[in-house]
């Protein structure tokens, strides 16, 4: 019988929380999820400490993660050339084969030059390194134009494209590179926790059509909404 909006089931917070309390999740599973997150994102020291404190096995050689972590840290501190050098030593095929990733790294170098106020150097760099790659690709050209437009403003950070100057942009680039390295090593690109959260959001979406119930509106706090409010 297809559900109609009129006959949507309603579940109160008490009922919902009672059902939740009845579900069992093993502590070991949660520990593994946390360890998987730390390892995938490259937090080696945290992973080591967590291993000691919880007794959870890391599942991979922590020493092998160090290179990857150094690459990530280099990008996040704005030292893109160092990251490029390191990733090329780890596996030159990564940047050879992934044009979009390569572009984003060069784009980050451009952003750093702009951040340092080196306007002429930035323009020359864009012309020599970035423009040729955009010849065949409109999407990349658009991104290049947005980045170069930073130079038109006296205060690039507060301009409409100022988001590019933000540290979040560095993290985005770092994550993209990290995922590529993981993939080249035959490992999963994303932490399992992310997959679980996506599944939960999808399931909520499905349930929304059939019932009104306490929803998780804030992933970070996992607070449930109040039904009927």
């Amino acid at each position: 019988m297809p559900p109609t909006t009129a006959s949507k089931k309603s579940i109160s917070n008490e009922q919902w929380e009672a059902k939740l309390a009845a579900v069992k999740v093993a502590k070991e599973d949660m520990n593994k999820l946390v360890m998987n997150f730390l390892v995938t994102e490259g937090y080696v020291d945290a992973a080591r400490t967590f291993e000691q404190e919880s007794g959870t096995a890391p599942g991979v050689q922590l020493g092998g993660i160090t290179d990857r972590m150094q690459v990530r840290q280099a990008v996040q501190s704005g030292q893109v050339e160092v990251a490029i050098d390191k990733v090329n030593d780890m596996n030159p095929e990564i940047l050879e084969e992934q044009a979009a990733l390569f572009f984003h790294l060069q784009q980050q170098r451009l952003i750093e030059l702009i951040r340092q106020g080196q306007t002429e150097a930035a323009l020359a760099f864009a012309q020599e390194y970035l423009a040729p790659q955009c010849e065949d690709d409109e999407a990349l050209l658009e991104e290049l134009e947005r980045t170069v437009s930073l130079l038109a403003f006296e205060q690039p950070a507060t301009s409409p494209v100022g988001g590019l100057m933000d540290v979040v942009q560095r993290q985005k680039t770092a994550s993209e590179l990290n995922a590529a390295i993981l993939a080249s090593q035959g490992q999963e690109k994303e932490p399992r926790l992310l997959l679980l959260l996506k599944m939960m959001l999808w399931a909520q979406g499905q349930l929304d059509e059939k019932a009104s119930y306490p929803r998780l509106t804030d992933l970070a706090t996992a607070r449930l909404s109040q039904v009927g409010s």
Binding site: N91, P92, E96, A124, F125, Q133, G186
Partner: protein, 545 residues
């Protein structure tokens, strides 16, 4: 490190060359490192710095500093990747020998870098294959295959060997050097890129040697096929917005290009090999057929068949709209206009040629899949059912319309096998899937006599089966019996018999080429005669005298 100078410009060719030739070791190292980081991923820079190949090779042969060697060989590999001029420059300076020399180093990092460089270099068809198949080098490469803790090195070695495996004799050399056990080992690796490289290397002769180990190999191959299938499906969803997805939906060359874009599924070359290997390994061995069935290999093969069939059909229809329109116009016009009809025929011929070119491009894997389906549809009824349930019949029926004679042959053969002593439902399905027009085309219209043979076999099975005279007649729109009678017209029959018998006597005085031609004609006639006899049997089956 000064990768980009103060004014934003990168190092010039001259600056780098000076750095490479400097007497100071740290200057040399810095120059090589800069060069490496500039060219990796940057097609334009590679072209700009191709002239530095000789200087780099000089460093390879003269230096013993591990750090320097790692950077230099990496730069060389990168200069060759995707740039023909780079490959030519390396070959011209006898660069392969230089890189191979470094491959034999005792330093692991150097060996790893050299192996990866070779892998990049040998993706180009311009790289000299035979140079790597000489004994000391070949043995070194094979020994690198057996490095369990260094997956990337083994993978690189397998990839290089795979690219050197373009002829039967090359494959034999590689197999003779003992590569096969190591390749089997690689196939069991956790990393899909290792498996893919191993599949690339396992071709032709080496594949036959895989047979003893095939029980462990087969699951791997099936998993590779499944992974590629899933990646293509997933990639189709995630690339939905791009033109690539539209292209992928339209035809099989784009399907392969999309796999390349998706990255996950790896090089499309291996995707061609997997069905071939599967077909080879399953050839007539019941335990393997059973294993294949258990592993859902059936579903995957059928999926491959139907996707290629759909792609071929799509390619055919998109290239023929003009022909169809012209033909329709010519047909509908009242007077038999010679020029319009000729135009339609010319357009149809051009479109057919284009479609043939498109289909020919996609040759090997469908043929292999159809060949595998042939074997799987044989008497082992436990394997036949799942295959038919998975939709093999529609897929095979559409393949009988292919431009490739091999594909038509295997598809018709597979259908014949499927119909042999088949259940009534299966026969019904066959009649539903296959239109009389298409079947008639195979039976009397096909240029390849082998295809006609299989079509006759299919007809025989149908006649012997539960379908019955009325149903078959209805299916054929009452054309079946007249067609058979026409084919068996007594005059035609006797002239064929005379021609076949008569040709043998006059060949003794002819030259070699003419005798060959006569022999071919004789064989052709004999084949026609055989067909006629079988059609006669079919008629008798239908209860018509």
């Amino acid at each position: 490190m000064a990768m980009v100078a103060r004014n934003g410009n990168g190092p010039s060719c001259q600056q780098l060359e000076e750095g490479l030739k400097s007497s100071d070791s740290s200057t040399r190292l810095q120059a090589v490192r800069e060069l490496k980081n500039t060219v990796i991923g940057n097609r334009f820079k590679k072209q700009q710095f191709t002239g530095l190949v000789p200087a780099l090779l000089e460093l390879l042969t003269s230096s013993s500093d591990a750090d320097l060697l790692v950077q230099a060989v990496a730069a060389l590999g990168s200069l060759a990747y995707g740039v023909d001029d780079g490959v030519r420059a390396i070959v011209a300076c006898n660069g392969v020998a230089g890189i191979v020399g470094v491959l034999c180093s005792s330093n692991e990092r150097v060996v790893a870098a050299a192996a990866r460089s070779l892998k990049l270099l040998y993706q180009s068809p311009l790289a000299p294959r035979d140079a790597l198949l000489q004994q000391p080098v070949l043995l070194r490469l094979v020994s690198l295959l057996q490095q369990p803790q260094h997956d990337s090195v083994a993978e690189a070695a397998a990839s290089v060997l795979g690219h050197c495996c373009t002829s039967a004799s090359q494959a034999s050399s590689i197999a003779a050097a003992g590569a096969v056990p190591a390749l089997v080992q690689l196939l069991s690796s956790q990393r899909r890129s290792c498996q893919e490289s191993a599949v690339e290397a396992a071709q032709q002769e080496t594949a036959r040697q895989l047979l003893p180990a095939c029980l462990s190999v087969l699951p791997r191959l099936v998993r590779l096929l499944a992974a590629a299938d899933a990646a293509a499906a997933g990639a189709g969803v995630s690339h939905a917005a791009t033109p690539a997805a539209a292209a992928a939906a339209a035809g099989s060359p784009a399907y392969r290009a999309l796999l390349g874009l998706a990255g996950e599924a790896g090089d499309s070359r291996y995707l061609q090999q997997v069905p071939l290997l599967l077909a080879l390994l399953m050839d007539g061995r019941p335990e393997l057929l059973q294993l294949a069935m258990d592993l859902d290999a059936i579903k995957l093969l059928v999926k491959l068949l139907s996707s290629k069939a759909a792609a071929a059909a799509a390619a055919a229809t998109t290239s023929q709209p003009d022909a169809t329109a012209a033909a329709a116009k010519a047909a509908s016009s009242s007077k038999p206009a010679g020029t319009a009809a000729a135009k339609a025929r010319a357009a149809a011929a051009a479109a057919a040629a284009a479609a043939a070119a498109a289909a020919a491009d996609a040759g090997a894997s469908e043929v292999a899949a159809a060949g595998a389906a042939c074997n799987l549809l044989l008497g082992f009824s436990s394997v036949r059912q799942p295959l038919i349930k998975a939709g093999a019949l529609p897929a095979l029926s559409s393949l009988t319309a292919s431009m490739l004679p091999e594909l038509r042959l295997y598809a018709a053969w597979a259908l014949k096998n499927a119909s042999h002593e088949a259940e009534p439902e299966v026969q019904q399905q066959l009649l539903q899937e296959m239109s009389w027009q298409d079947f008639r085309g195979l039976l009397v219209g096909d240029h390849d006599v082998r295809v006609q043979e299989q079509a006759v076999g299919l007809l025989q099975n149908l006649c012997k089966g539960a379908a019955g005279v009325e149903q078959l007649t209805a299916w054929s729109g009452n054309e079946l019996l007249p067609l058979l009678e026409e084919q068996l017209e007594p005059a035609l029959y006797s002239s064929l018999a005379a021609a076949a018998a008569g040709d043998g006597s006059s060949s003794s005085s002819s030259s070699g080429a003419a005798a060959d031609q006569q022999q071919q004609q004789q064989q052709h006639l004999k084949a026609r005669l055989d067909l006629c006899e079988r059609l006669q049997t079919a008629l008798e089956q239908l209860g018509v005298k």
